[in-house]
Each structure stands twice: as C-alpha cells, then as structure tokens.
C-alpha cells in the first residue's frame, strides 16, 4: 500500500464529488450506470492503471476547532460537494489522469471529479523549508 514514505511514482487521486444524481433515475437506469461504472473501474484495475478504490458512506462526522474539538455529524452542507468515493491511479501524467476521469460514466449525470497529484512530500514541509530560507535571508 502506498504511504507517505514511498519513493515510487506517486500517481494521482480521483475524488468523486457526488450529488444525488441517482434520485432522478429509474431503478433500471441506476443499475445500468452502476454496471458501467463497475466495468470502467475493473477495466482500469485490469490494465494496471488503478488500484481498487473505495466508495464512502454518506454519513460521517467532521472534527474541528482549537480546543473544544467540535464534532458535528455528517458531511455536509452542500450535497453536491460530498465526496462519494475515490480511486488511486498509477499513471505518470496529469493529462493521462484527466483522460481517465473524462471517461467516468457518472459525469453525464452531473457529478464532478477532482484530479489531484499525490505528493511525494507534504507540501507543508516544503513550505516550512522555503520559509526558513526566507527568514535566514531576511536576518542576514
């Protein structure tokens, strides 16, 4: 499993932003889209381009806040912003990742897909080093 210490190519993550597209569809239509979606993902896995992804249940909680550590139920203010699942892609360029995302069968029903490069190193670490250099430079 890929983790923060991996040295291999990091790939891309597809985050599926789901609205309630299926509410408008009949049982048969939903089943058709689900079958297409399953075939699409299984095809990508068979080609070695994706690792098995996961769907997420719609419920959940959000933890936030400095000390009080507020726990609230649910994602989520906007149904269309809810992340319904994700897929990790083993491809080398964002162009390839986008081309794969564009073939998602649910796009036609109004979902959207966020395509994000998985980071080799935490961007915050990189920023901390940049800042340290700037501070050194300023004090020199």
């Amino acid at each position: 499993m890929q983790n923060m210490n991996t040295e291999e190519q990091n790939g891309y993550m597809l985050l599926f932003r789901s609205n309630e597209w299926y509410e408008e569809l009949s049982h048969d239509e939903i089943q058709k889209v689900i079958n297409q979606n399953t075939a699409w993902i299984e095809g990508l896995i068979a080609e070695g381009k994706a690792k098995p992804g996961h769907a997420l249940h719609r419920d959940g909680a959000t933890v936030s806040g400095k000390d009080g550590r507020i726990v609230s139920d649910g994602p989520f203010p906007e149904a269309k912003e809810v992340i319904g699942g994700f897929l990790l892609l083993n491809v080398e360029t964002i162009a390839e990742a986008i081309a794969i995302a564009q073939r998602s069968p649910t796009l036609a029903y109004g979902t959207s897909i966020e395509v994000r490069p998985v980071a080799e190193e935490c961007p915050l670490d990189v920023r901390a080093r940049e800042l340290a250099r700037q501070e050194q430079f300023a004090s020199a």
């Binding site: 499993m1 909680a61 933890v63 670490d125």
Partner: protein, 135 residues
C-alpha cells in the same frame, strides 16, 4: 447509521483546509508537519492507519456531460482537501477519537471522518429496494 455499528471496511479521514501555513513561522510550520508525520507513523505502527498521503495543492476538476476540465481546487482554501488517511478501526468512535489528535486542528484544519463502504452505497440501496418490491 454506522456510528454504533462496527464497520469492517474501516474509515477515511479527509483533511480539509490548505491555508494553515498563513501566518505561521517556518519553525511553527515545521513543528506541525513533524507532529503530523509522527502521528501517522504511530498510527501505522499500531496497525490503525493502513494508508495515507498528502496531495499536491494544484489539480483539475472534470465535470458534467461535456466533460469540461477546469483548474481547481483553489490553491489555499478552507474546503480543499490536503490529504487523507485510511484507518483500519472498527467503529466511528475510534475513528473520531483518532481525528481529534490531528495536529492541524489548532490551525483551522477540519477532519472529515467517513465510513468506507464495502460496496457502492447506491448499488446497495437499489438492491434493497428491489428485494422490498418483490415481497
């Protein structure tokens, strides 16, 4: 609701907010990232975290029938997802307890805790409906 029921598929933590670096010195920022890595390492050693990754800030969003490609999410925002962990824990309580240890919380990071589904929840719903209709 999966809050009480054990979920054998685990939980996902989505870290929201990519603007925490604003206003922090390099030392403070380094401390937060070091704590974050130590937290992830500890969870991995305990067998509670099975995967985790930071995401690069820039990306693209593909949407709609016409499969339009747009830039996004915006570089620094409260909503953007900065990374994730996959947890191998059995209950929502455990997952939430882990989320409350996130070193980014004091800096405005929010942690979304989501049960991972064994099968697509939409597929499960319509299967249940179909069974119900046959009764």
């Amino acid at each position: 609701m999966s809050t009480q029921n054990p979920n054998q598929n685990g939980y996902m933590l989505l870290f929201r907010g990519t603007d925490l670096r604003k206003g922090l010195s390099s030392e403070e920022l380094q401390k937060v990232t070091d704590n974050w890595m130590a937290w992830f390492r500890r969870l991995t050693e305990e067998g509670k975290a099975v995967a985790g990754n930071p995401l690069e800030r820039e990306g693209k969003i593909v949407s709609g029938k016409d499969r339009v490609v747009a830039d996004g999410p915006f570089a620094e925002s409260k909503e953007a997802i900065g990374g994730y962990f996959l947890l191998d824990v059995a209950t929502m309580e455990e997952a939430v307890a882990i989320a409350t240890d996130c070193p980014g919380l004091p800096y405005g990071i929010r942690v979304e805790v989501r049960p991972v589904a064994g099968e697509c929840p939409i597929a499960a719903d319509i299967r249940k409906e179909a069974q119900f209709a046959q009764v």
